[in-house]
Amino acid sequence: MSKDFKPEKSSLVSFSLMGPESGALCKVDCSDGRITRISPYEYDTEYTEAHCRPWKIEARGKTFRAPKNIPLTHFGLGYKGRVYSPNRVLYPLKRVDWDPKGERNPQNRGKSGYVRISWDEAAQICADELKRIKETYGCEAVLCQSDMHGEGKHVAPSHGCPNRLLSLMGGYTLQMRNFDSWEGWVWGAKHVWGCEPVGEQTPQANLIPDMAQHSDTLFFWGCDPEVTPLGFGMHMPTNLCYWFTELGIKSIYVCPDLNYGAAIHADKWIPVLPNTDAAMQLAIAYVWLTENTYDKDYIDSHAYGFDKFVAYVMGEEDGVPKTPKWASEKCGVPVYTIKALARHWAKKTVSICHGNGGSYIRGPYSTEPARLEIMLLAMQGLGRPGVHQTKMLEWNLWAQYYPVPYTPEFSPAVPHIADPLHPVDGDVPDEINMARFRLSPVQEERAPELKKLFAPLPAPKQFIPRCLVHNAILNGSAEWYGLQVFSTSQIPKEGNYRLATSRFQFEKMVYPRPGLSKVHMIWSSSPCNVTCWNDGNRFIEAYRSPEIETMVVQHPWMENDTCFADIILPVCTKHEMNDIGNDMSSGAFVSIYKVDPCIERRGESLTDFDVCAKVAEKLGPEYYDAYTDNMSEEDRVRFFYKATGCEERMSWEEFSDKKVFVVPIDKDTKDIPAGLYNFYKDPKKHRLSTPTGLLEFSSTHIEQYMPDDPERPPVPHWIEKGEMHDERLSGERAKKYPLLCMSNHGRWRVHAQCDDVPWTREIGTMKVRAKDGYQYEPVWLNPKTAKERGIEHGDIVKVFNERGTVLCGAYVTERLIPGVAYVDHGSRLDPIDPGKLDRGGAINTITPNSITSKNATGMATSGFLVEVLKVTDEEMEQWKRDFPEAFSRKIDHAAGVCMAGWMKE
């Protein structure tokens, strides 16, 4: 550091953690080869004022202006904790008792620990195993786990590089991402209103200004605008929420917890028991039907099947009218509050805000609250000014026009070198398959240098939805409904129009496909199934199955599924590489930026791209050449920039110097009708993508394909229990497990990322340091729930059901409804008895195994039964005697679970 405290250099780096897009940028100062400071990126306002048309929203005499910088999140600010984490994997590692030429000891995965090996040896083992598995069983015997939500980077993305190499080898079995975060919307709401690709409202154009002008009340239904957007690098929803309040718009939060948004923005908090929203929604419909307070004319012209819905709500179908009293017993909200909410909604102009849905839309039978929400919006004239379903994050996603007026003049698409979601050829028509990860014709024209690197690769021939991978491995087969479970997210055509895909949900699928092998090897670049997916303990069982001969993980950190790998390949962070970034919805403008490495790559870590190149090298020069096209990282940055189309506006030389190209705001988007206004005005001319083109209160697709499905009937129902799930307080299981467990996206983590950042771990809602000095994941309990169990704040407790036990630290708070235990998902695993007992607080280890419902291939990770009890000293001592090795693993005082705990030398 020089005397005047100026950094030796500064780099621009992404701080979004929602790959594949790199997202929001920040400034990273470095001196003496270390990162010294991470600060917000400030726009050159002189430039943006003159050239970029800064936007503003005007409503009710007040103005909301585009920010002058990109506000950082704590994720970005605390990232030194990630780069320098004691949990970093710095060298290639081999599981100590795994011998590819002898005993493999799969039963010891998650227990045995690691020794350092050379890159040469590691790459050779991987190449040899890939060849052996391919020769013995065929290409499909390798399962590639590689999808989404790691660090955002482009020229060497977190996810998809192994897919690229495996494609060159002839194929693999794809772990297909199920629609996590959108479960209920995709498998439910889509059948009501289409709204491709994920069943949340599209289009979102100009919704925020429209709400600011026309809405009286906003419902944040299971939505936390102070949490979910942060992972995408967005702080703007915070300021928008403050602004809505200034405008006199009421905010009503409906959720079991006083979430972080409700804590500061709510005018009214209605606590509801987890996963019981459908009961309250049905009662709201009942009040409107009996009091005639819905828009009958709108329903007549815009809806199909309303009579069947009415028959169910009024009890004509099953003899049970869905009265507020009926609902109150299920959802825990007083009868008079349900009625008041229904009347407020009918009287006022109401929009509903979401951070994709959160736990509200990720429980058992989540199709039902999702569908009912759209129907309630419909009964109040969905699409009319001020009546929308609005996303509070990811404004660029699947949007031709943004909900805030900052649609760019042109969209600078950065190519993706690797495709983690490459669909199986022939499963769905080409025009529907996800094309985001290919070089588009216009990109190819701009940067012909990339043509060879992006030569089309053969598609995998079979896939397993991620939520069924454990069962598929352990049962040796799997069946489900739904084709291309994720990749139906097509590129929009003119006018943001997408082809309908909901009919593909009714295709029966199998694994293995005829003539193709079962899985015998796993290669993962997204090792977080245990901590982020359904029934994590079953994943542990699958990873320890002798069916899996080899498990390779490439990752920067020793976390989550990584401790089950036989070979671990060290990956560097985004702060240690060249890249080209795109900030699509974090600040005031869309921008493209050049990332220079802040520091040298730590240890022997490599980018994800180069990790696979190492293995390609061992497979033979033909693989290496095809995989890399012998193009350097710097050249990929250069040509990727060319492909974005920005070079026509700013030369490479100027871009290399300025590091940022800010795209001007499109001046013509202000008059684009907000949301579904066109449909509202003329449903015949502006049809929805449902089969009838209307809002389907009874789904014509479900009527046609699965009319007798008791768990997702044509008209949404309250489903007390069914073949898939028995997770209600009314059930027999509730006698043993009497609490409903809720799990949100965490405030201090992005899924499983950033659990090791010491500075957030000091915050009370992030970790609870108990009397044994260990930082436990908090389980929130209402004082009443805690008192009934003799639990005090800070106690070590066990959260358990028949699927296993998770140790947590009691966080006793008035912020949660009684009868509920709340643990955020994504805390790192610290397996004591792998598959049975975890000390790290990975609540997903005990979430339900079953999918969303019988024919809906999503996961259910919130709203399930558990019991919470205090861990006695004797019990803890007994565990320590039973599992001495697990308890003796080193735990870092500041960062928790760490690499040193797993090393055997």
Binding site: M1, F5, R37, P71, L77, A263, I264, Y336, E814
Partner: protein, 272 residues
């Protein structure tokens, strides 16, 4: 010339950016002669305190960012036997890490608990107002720079005073002349919901009349039956609730000395 902080509690979202940015700036970075590195965890030169008010479902939260008050008459300076603590011309109070002998006197003399002891370095450590940055071209400390809502502002006290109407300092009774000012610290609330238990309906428009000695507050219940009295001083209150068709309801001796009071869901008795 004197620098001051002005913190608007009504705009603090509890994001903790200020707390984390302080660590980003000072952990592992040696800014001598202004400050030695902060240890990786355990010190909070900027600390966000969370306060939860009320009981379910009438619960609110407010966050208070706290830091060294850079007092006009700092108690830490005379407490230091070796003269390691000094007040700069711009008002910032600095502990000279080279002079500090680790006696800890200053720590016990600071009523704001803003000084920490660095075991490894054997020195007292605290907020410097990022003086090393202010002296080298930056206009605000890191905690201010990263606040996404503009809740924390920093500048010349004379400049800030324009925005300081109603601002208060913490522990004014110490008389040390603290320079961290707070706006919109919420007072106590008394809240509840009125309903008709027979019809299972909320009661809207009930006249809620609150009194504490000679002082009175009035409000009406809203369309959820809710009534709120916010920003009340601590004290003992009486509440009467008058609604057409219902018996007068009197709730006496509501004590807000210890905490906010959620009176819960209050049934009103029907009366002809």
């Amino acid at each position: 010339m004197s620098k001051a902080f002005l913190i608007d509690i009504a705009r603090c979202s509890g994001c903790h950016n200020c707390q984390i940015a302080c660590k980003d700036e000072h952990v592992g970075n040696d800014w001598s002669p202004y400050a030695k590195p902060q240890p990786i965890v355990g010190q909070f030169w900027m600390k966000v305190i969370e306060t939860v008010h009320g009981t379910i479902p009438k619960v609110k939260i407010h966050y208070t960012p706290t830091l060294c008050n850079h007092c006009d008459n700092p108690s830490c300076i005379p407490a230091c036997d070796v003269g390691a603590i000094y007040k700069r011309e711009d008002g910032l109070v600095i502990i000279d890490p080279a002079k500090c002998n680790g006696c800890k006197n200053c720590i016990s003399h600071c009523p704001y608990e803003a000084i920490y002891f660095g075991e490894d370095l054997n020195i007292a450590q605290k907020c410097t107002g990022c003086a090393h940055l202010l002296d080298n071209g930056r206009s605000v400390p890191r905690c201010v720079e990263v606040c996404p809502t503009g809740a924390i502002t920093f500048g010349e006290k004379s400049e800030l005073s324009k925005k300081m109407a109603g601002a208060v300092v913490l522990k004014p009774e110490t008389g040390l002349g603290p320079n961290v000012y707070y706006k919109n610290i919420p007072g106590r609330f008394i809240a509840g919901t009125v309903f008709d238990p027979v019809e299972e309906e909320i009661v809207e428009g009930a006249e809620c009349h609150l009194s504490c000695g000679p002082r009175v507050w009035n409000t009406l219940s809203d369309d959820f039956g809710d009534f709120w009295f916010k920003d009340l001083p601590e004290g003992e209150y009486d509440l009467t609730i008058k609604a057409k068709g219902f018996a007068l309801k009197l709730i006496e001796a509501i004590d807000t000395a210890a905490s906010d009071v959620n009176l819960g869901d209050i049934p009103l008795e029907k009366q002809d």
